[in-house]
């Protein structure tokens, strides 16, 4: 869609930029590929999970706020579907069984994007400014405070004080349990394989996803 005037900008949310870099280098993309070590897109755009997409028109106006964005099949979710659960340890099988319930609709998102690239503001998927604001994430004192707590945590972690970071990330999780980037980033430092339960945090990917139901992990796209 690039020849028709669409520019893709990817933003890797990684407190440790060295974790994102190999993925970017392997993809050797010809579009801007940025690294967001403070999860600034959460604060500025209302991103709460990945992958998420935001559409911005030629005049710099947001026409769709942050929403689950899967322009193609998700290779990780695909690979989960192809594993024989009887061949893996029971605790892994339990996590994979949950992950299989995650719903995505890559065809719909790609179709919406094509329609907007073709028809611009006439596309029925391009929303009015009022709708864009109303559909962006709710933000009360708790959500805003969580952003500040996460920010302090990433600052301390990057300055060598990981224990200090945990205190603030725990608080961010408590204040804003629906923000998965704050949670998964933090869990991943303790258990990069499963994001499982550790002494550092009250939750884990499996426990927290099961609480809301994996089918709600990505809210359905509202065209």
């Amino acid at each position: 869609m690039h020849p028709k005037g669409l520019e893709v900008v990817t933003v890797g949310l990684d407190v440790d930029p060295d974790a994102a870099r190999p993925f970017i280098e392997a993809a050797s993309p010809d579009h801007p590929s940025l690294i967001d070590s403070a999860h600034l897109v959460d604060e500025r755009f209302g991103v709460v999970n990945v992958p998420n997409g935001v559409w911005i028109d030629e005049a710099g106006i947001i026409v769709r706020p942050a929403e689950p964005a899967q322009p193609g099949e998700n290779p990780a979710l695909e690979s989960f579907r192809n594993i024989d659960l009887t061949t893996v340890p029971p605790d892994i099988a339990e996590v994979l069984a949950e992950a299989r319930k995650i719903r995505i609709d890559p065809d719909l998102y790609a179709e919406m994007l094509r329609d907007w690239v073709e028809h611009g503001s006439e596309s029925r998927y391009a929303l009015s400014p009022d709708d864009v604001i109303a559909r962006s994430q709710p933000r009360g004192d708790d959500e805003a405070r969580a952003a500040a707590e996460f920010d302090l945590g990433q600052y301390l972690h990057r300055n060598g004080d990981h224990h200090g970071a945990i205190v603030h990330w725990r608080e961010a999780h408590r204040l804003f349990p629906d923000n998965w980037t704050y949670k998964r980033q933090a869990w991943n430092f303790e258990d990069p394989v499963r994001q499982g339960h550790t002494d550092a945090y009250d939750g884990s990917w499996f426990e927290d996803v099961r609480k809301i139901g994996a089918e709600n992990y990505y809210p359905p796209i509202v065209p």
Partner: protein, 117 residues
């Protein structure tokens, strides 16, 4: 934004929060929130506490480590977006070169957030 003191210059405040401090108040695109005189210190800096209170920005302090973080505004729309005008986003690419989202004006942009974890 991370703070080690509670007054900052206007440019630092704007880069850190997206809000410009102007004579008419604190502004983001078409939205301006009037500020009391105390928002500006005698030497022209921004009193973060005063502006934070007007915009509904929580200030979280870690006293032991002497650092504070200012959260985003809640007082205008109660949503993550205050306006549909895209905020500025300046981030490094994998080689460490700074890139500004606003440099893509004139093109449609899809911003895709992903992660390695």
């Amino acid at each position: 934004m991370i703070l080690d003191e509670l007054t900052v210059d206007r440019e630092t405040f704007e880069t850190g929060t997206g809000w410009a401090i102007k004579p008419e108040g604190a502004c983001r695109a078409e939205v301006c929130v009037p500020l009391p005189p105390a928002a500006r210190t005698a030497d022209g800096r921004v009193d973060v506490g005063v502006v934070a209170e007007r915009l509904g920005m929580p200030l979280v302090t870690d006293r032991e480590r002497g650092r504070s973080a200012l959260g985003p505004a809640t007082a205008v729309t109660g949503r993550a977006l205050t306006t549909a005008v895209a905020p500025e986003l300046e981030l490094p690419d994998a080689a460490g070169n700074a890139f500004r989202l606003s440099s893509l004006r004139g093109q449609k942009v899809v911003l895709l957030a992903w992660s390695s974890w």
